[in-house]
């Protein structure tokens, strides 16, 4: 898979995960989850177009994605949201190397958005520090 196809697979998984996250949250956190899901859908749609323009066949949505841990309450929902944004940020970061021009700009926007959302979720979850020095970089 090319970098952008990997990013698309990560976006599919993020959209799926936010379904499980949103129902465990309320108020401002639930609103944030809805906005995040919408943002991931918009990225996914733009990616499908970009990959189709390139003549690649984009990876399809899977019927379900295994979550890294069960989401049973607010705390686990927030933890999953952080995890999802970090993982998607890593996929976009990896795509930077393999892209140029508009596609690189697209990948960079994706990385920045995921990094900012990961920071917001860490704040909601009470995790510190809320930022990391190199968002998307594998440990």
């Amino acid at each position: 898979m090319t970098g952008l196809a990997t990013a698309l697979a990560a976006e599919h998984a993020a959209i799926f995960a936010y379904g499980a996250i949103g129902v465990r949250l309320t108020g401002a956190e639930q609103q944030e989850a809805r906005a995040a899901e919408e943002a991931h859908r918009a990225r996914r749609d733009a990616l499908v177009v970009a990959l189709a323009t390139d003549g690649d066949s984009p990876p399809p949505t899977e019927p379900g994605y295994a979550l890294p841990f069960p989401v049973t309450d607010r705390a686990s929902a927030l933890r999953l949201a952080v995890h999802i944004e970090e993982r998607t940020a890593a996929a976009w970061r990896a795509a930077l190397r393999e892209t140029t021009g508009d596609q690189r700009a697209q990948a960079l926007d994706g990385l920045i958005d995921c990094a900012v959302r990961a920071t917001r979720w860490r704040r909601f979850a009470g995790l510190t520090p809320v930022t990391v020095p190199f968002p998307g970089r594998p440990d």
């Binding site: 976009w92 970061r93 690189r104 960079l108 990094a115 917001r120 520090p129 930022t131 990391v132 190199f134």
Partner: protein, 190 residues
């Protein structure tokens, strides 16, 4: 996917062909009739004096000696990261109560500067001398200071975004992470 810096760019490698062409040596050549073997031996000695690391690149002997070394495209970003670090240092010095909030951001900028320096092959930078900013002279107004930091982060993010878009593939991920980190700083300072 390795995150290791590549060899230094060609313009930064040490070239030791130029003394062979210098006027002084040419006149010495004709005056003292140094034979070719003597001159070659001198070149070999010079070569051995160059640290081994400098010899690992190719094209070492073929570069045009008159080409000025190209400016390091990462240099402005290193300076920018150090400038951001210095701003945080000044604010923390004036308002120690902000330390726990700002310290992680300060550390990030230092790490960015060190990582950029590693990639550009320059020495690990130390913090630039802190110019007393207007920020430090108004210790009372925390809100203004944070707004100034936020503005500086925003400008820094834009600079890193532009650098990332124009960067060669092997530098794109690092510059992208730096742009993203600055965006998260803007978020935290909001």
């Amino acid at each position: 996917m390795s995150d290791h810096p590549p060899l230094p760019p060609r313009g930064r490698r040490i070239v030791f062909t130029s003394p062979v062409r210098s006027r002084k040596l040419t006149s010495t050549w004709s005056r003292r009739k140094i034979d070719r073997r003597h001159l070659l031996r001198g070149a070999v000695v010079t070569a051995m004096a160059v640290p081994a690391a400098a010899l690992t690149g190719c094209g070492l002997l073929t570069r045009e000696p008159d080409t000025p070394p190209s400016p390091d495209p990462l240099a402005p970003l290193i300076a920018g990261a150090l400038d951001l670090a210095a701003r945080y240092e000044a604010v923390i010095a004036a308002h120690p109560e902000l330390t726990s909030r700002l310290e992680p951001l300060l550390r990030a900028h230092r790490e960015h500067a060190a990582e950029l320096a590693r990639w550009s092959g320059t020495a690990t930078p130390t913090a630039s001398p802190v110019t007393p900013s207007p920020a430090a002279s108004t210790p009372g107004d925390v809100r203004t200071l944070l707004a100034e930091l936020r503005e500086a982060e925003r400008a820094g993010q834009q600079a890193a975004v532009e650098a990332c878009r124009a960067a060669p593939a092997h530098q794109a991920a690092l510059l992208g992470s730096i742009a993203a980190a600055r965006a998260t700083h803007v978020e935290v300072l909001a």
